[in-house]
Symmetry: D4
Subunit: 214 residues, 8 copies
């Protein structure tokens, strides 16, 4: 009644509907998860705070909580790679990891191979350049950065695959909760940069998935 | 001296450097075009106003001006489709055509097949739904919309390929020069939506190209 | 002394003054409710947090608390439909329900018939289209949506009655606390869309009431 | 090709599609007008600058230009009132007249009776109060105001019909092109205020029409 | 060391330095109050939260806390009216009272006569108009309003003395923490409106004091 | 018809209605001036561009144009000082003169004595300090400043009369058309600072007049 | 793994990498500190809340916590002045001290001599002018100010060394979390003003260090 | 009268007052230049449009116009290097040259040695890295960039001297007239980055001068 589960989503877009946790009571989340589990081998809930995950874990024993990514998942078959290609995920700083892990966990749960390259921000360029070959071997890149958010621009100038920029709310003052890195990414001089919402690791992973399935 | 042409661009990213016209004198543009033409069969200049195009046309007789797209191009070999797949380009309204044409012209010049579907904004949903099969057969979609910019969300809910949303500055008052459709696209509930800068038809086409070449 | 109750409101506008809860102490709210109850069969207080509702409930035993809508109401006669016509209330997602319920509860308390259609956001258009006939039979529509807020535009393109768009603060990052859906609604290409403040379910219901009483 | 005329609009919403002039060439406008004229007795184009109106007037001799409202209209039957009720249109200052006239002309062309009450801003309240009886006799009100935009709030406190606030870009400095009156109207303490986009006299008239037809 | 008390303030501006409480530890506030008390009969601290007031009250027994105004004051001589003229203070709604009381308490402590007129917002204009004679007899007016903040404009159109508008952060959504009423007041069509910072009841009172001493 | 002249303004507020020029045709301005001239010895029109002033000058031969202030005035009696006290007007830079002159001309036309102190911005503090005695002898000060707009704060710390800060749109980049100096003035640490709209020299003069008449 | 310590930073820029505390778990901070301590005599962590400092203090006994500056530092050799020149640090108000102390502590830990001049805001100019000689003897100045942030402009007009302006989030309402003083500093009429992010005392100290080492 | 020339500026800050051209009439500029020329060997006017430069050139025959920098200068002694050290000036793109040249011309006129490195934006990193040794040999760097403005961050990570970031208004859409690169620079992860106003090449050069004279 409070939710109309979109059972056609899997057919239409290739992925099942994913539940957005905020603003739903644990009871509502539980009911939606149960409804989705009837038709889908993998059910995911994003943005779940630890306290809510505890309540859900008691009601749905098989539900697994990925704490850093804040994702709950119900896996009815063992997780495996289902699609060709690899998604490289880069983060600029350690504080960006929750968003980067949201992307990595989402991509893995959707059946994609993931390569993680953490803490390679532009203030010390040699860290990025020392991973150049690995980065250039990826099929699509998700680049997560807060503060000035310059990493996607620099990376896109080094590779020939699509780069998905994810601005994060990491920073203070004039980062304005992620607006600064968002604008940086939207104004990138380098070509091939796609941008998603601030902190939207989930959306970046789904977009990377759509690209690899193209 | 005033410009360091990036001759590695083609090797590194698969496309030659494209010249951004604004803020350059016709003399500067001419010199950069000549320098690029030595190594690249196709040279493009974007955002060229008609008066500038006239001056350039006199100096570089082979330069062609795509008036609606505001692109000048020097083609040293006949244009042909070089990559598999089709890029579908949708526009919400007639006033969005300059941006949609910038995307279409760029994509064609880079060797991609393009399908154009104009004036299918959400205020009359039947117009969009009547092209559903065609839209669903595309490999990647560029969706151009101003005002409220809702079209990419609705389209992304109908297809399983990546959707690149291009907000335009078409509108008035609270469209704030394209901020309204930009925010709409960044906050899309539908998954698989990549966003680029306001009026950036060029960038959308380059991103679509990177996706098809993946 | 701290409040001048507007006893002419009922005569002038057809509805009694409604108390806005925030920034008032429980003592102040109690006194205003008692003053209003002398002249009005229905007294409403909006935006009442549960803890405040508890205090008020102890002091005014007949006060009823609509928890999801965060409305306290004192009903001195049984609630009944007093006006012709039906107000259809649509919500885009489950997290928008508090705002949608504020609208629904307000409308019911003011004597209007309400039809609720929850969780029909544009990312899965078939959910909306499957309620098309019901939606088209309404006399006025309140459409509640957060994130990109595209639902009012799409709905207004399907019906010939006024559509009141209520943007909500549901979302994150570039939703900017409801600014994104607000701009979407203000820039709607579809005609017949009225917009109210972010999260203002109360105001939407009052406006719908004025429209039905026209 | 560049436009898909929405011939179902009249059936679906009760009004024919209205052409938005900006961003279209005179040629494009002419073709759309001709296409619409086949099925609709009244065809309207909004936001037409005088120079464009001249060109169109030469090509479509029957096209009439309402200069202050910047509307072109093709009337194939004499204009008459087709709907019951009266739309009162108030303007706060003389500089708001172009927007107020856009509303008035649109409403008249759509078959509604209009009453105009100009220059009754709140800085001299007696001007408004001296029209109180006339204002209270209207069925729906459109209130057009720039600068601080306080007029809709004050008016809505005096009447029991819906009030449509139209913020205008009249002002300077912190009016921010109409943002100041927009915010004033969205935050109105008075109930029954619907808001539309800045300078959107057209949309206000269409909304008033939908309300009267309810 | 952490503070250089401005002992010349009384001589230079007619009022002693007033301590701004936020961001200071209770220890710092205590020391500044003691330093100021040597030279000034009245010492004031603004924006003091109740918990801080408790600590201060224990250390400085004669310190009085005006709870609604959040002001602590050390009065070494009985409070009395020292200046001719009366400051009228109006508030639009009950939730604006803390700011209105900050103004009233500051003015009284500085030796001015104050008249309070609460809850006379523009949504019920008769409430304001019924106090017209009293309001017109004031020498300077402080008008405190949140939400749309239209009250100073309306009042300034009724009187011939200066009106100091104080926007408050009362409201939600597009009130943007007081930006909406601030813009309304800055764009006032009525003349004679001075504006101060959002929630700055203190500054309004000091300005009113300077005006009366002129 | 297009304007309702507010003949009560002089009685109610002590000054006649002043015509705001922008958005009015020369014909409209002429008619309003003629209507006002019947009852008022001084009629003023502000923000009149030179070309409009020329047209008006031909139609109303006695109309005088103050070019730097962009004010047209019809003086039916010789201008003289009618009120006690002096208004000091300071400008920070040469580019702020049009706004400062708008204030000075308005004040003079309304019968006030004016003292002008130009180009005393804070970057060279000795220029301001060398006029200290003169500034301290004024009854009310209008301080006009663009760019960072720090002058009113510094001045208010030196005097004991009210200071009216007028932010100007002089500057570039992050001055954001006057927002930077506006915020500076609203956040002034010094007490006794009243703020008006960006570039609103007229309003500052009217406010100064109300203060002096108190 | 979660962090790639930038061991080249000391060589490249003259200072070791400094750890930004927010968004890191105490465990992560501890590991990074230990890794940096192998190569660097001084290791610093900024923006450490007291509770985190307690945890870290238990794990790394030699770690010192500068409470007002919120900095943790591991000093493996006694602190001493290593560079010629003095950095003068001015603060406008007492509430700006945490930011000013962040700058002072950072500068001291990096081996610079620091002179502190607190609470010399422009509202009482004599406080600043009485330190004129001391201020003019500094080699570089860091000027910390919230609210209107006018102090750097005034100071830069008095000295011939570079002035680094640090806007703080001290203030309320239209200070917008430090945006007001940021804009003031960026628009300074005085020359020689460098600006850093809001509340960025750390960055100001590092910049001052780079300047002194030039 | 309209200007108080700051003859102490040279003594106080080491550079004469520089005239800001906008908002001054050619007559005013001429008089100020003549007044300054009495005491200063070099007089500069910034932001002079070509048409104004023509008028000035006729009145002051020795005035030289640097067209790309939009600077007029009166040189009464031959220009020579007066200070030790070199200022390196980098620009990201060709369209940033006017701002970069404003910095270069200002620095040269003030007696500094300048090294220009144009068009080394981050989208093709090899261009920057190939000038690494030259860049690292500079004493202070001015880095001019529009669009995403990432260049100062990347450069500051490669050098150990101060980096002055100058955001430019080059770009479109979400560059918001230079706000995007401004935020990028303010949020730089690399240390040692000073920021000045958008397009403020002049201020950057003056700041670099102050640094070199330290
Ligand atoms: N973290 C997330 N960010 C953005 N969208 C999400 C996220 N998680 C789920 N969604 C989308 O949110 C929608 C579900 O919303 P709801 O019906 O409120 O559960 C689906 O369309 C999901 O694809
Ligand atoms: N949730 C709400 N949102 C907006 N306005 C409201 C709300 N609830 C009550 N009001 C209005 O707020 C005013 C009451 O304000 P107050 O005098 O502070 O109680 C009345 O004019 C109501 O119509
Ligand atoms: N509530 C307030 N709002 C604005 N300014 C205030 C307030 N209370 C005190 N002040 C001013 O703040 C300054 C004191 O700042 P501080 O040195 O930090 O105590 C003085 O100039 C006061 O006039
Ligand atoms: N392009 C510029 N950008 C910022 N400030 C400037 C510029 N040119 C000159 N100035 C400064 O502006 C002030 C001169 O303002 P004015 O008195 O109006 O000529 C002086 O303090 C100069 O240092
Ligand atoms: Mg790191
Ligand atoms: Mg169309
Ligand atoms: Mg749902
Ligand atoms: Mg008028
Ligand atoms: Mg009330
Ligand atoms: Mg000057
Ligand atoms: Mg102090
Ligand atoms: Mg280039």
């Amino acid at each position: 009644d409070f939710a109309k589960v979109d059972h056609q989503r899997q057919l239409r877009t290739g992925f099942p509907e994913v539940v957005w946790g905020p603003g739903k009571t644990p009871e509502q989340i539980e009911q939606i998860v149960q409804a989705l589990a009837v038709h889908n081998p993998v059910v995911m809930v994003t943005r779940v705070e630890p306290a809510v995950a505890d309540i859900l874990g008691e009601r749905i024993p098989l539900l697994h909580y990925y704490a850093q990514a804040k994702i709950c998942a119900l896996l009815q078959t063992p997780l495996q790679v289902k699609h060709p290609g690899t998604i490289g995920i880069l983060s600029a700083g350690t504080a960006d990891l929750p968003v980067a892990e949201e992307a990595a966990t989402t991509a893995s749960l959707c059946g994609f191979k993931v390569e993680k390259i953490w803490d390679v921000g532009v203030a010390g360029l040699h860290r990025l350049l020392s991973h150049r070959a690995l980065i250039q071997s990826m099929d699509v890149l998700i680049v997560v950065a807060g503060m000035e958010g310059a990493l996607p621009s620099v990376v896109a100038g080094l590779v020939d695959c699509p780069v998905i920029g994810v601005p994060t709310s990491v920073g203070y003052g004039t980062s304005f909760g992620g607006v600064a890195p968002l604008l940086t990414m939207l104004n990138s001089c380098a070509v091939g940069v796609a941008v998603v919402n601030i902190d939207n690791g989930f959306g970046a992973a789904m977009l990377a998935g759509q690209i690899l399935r193209t």
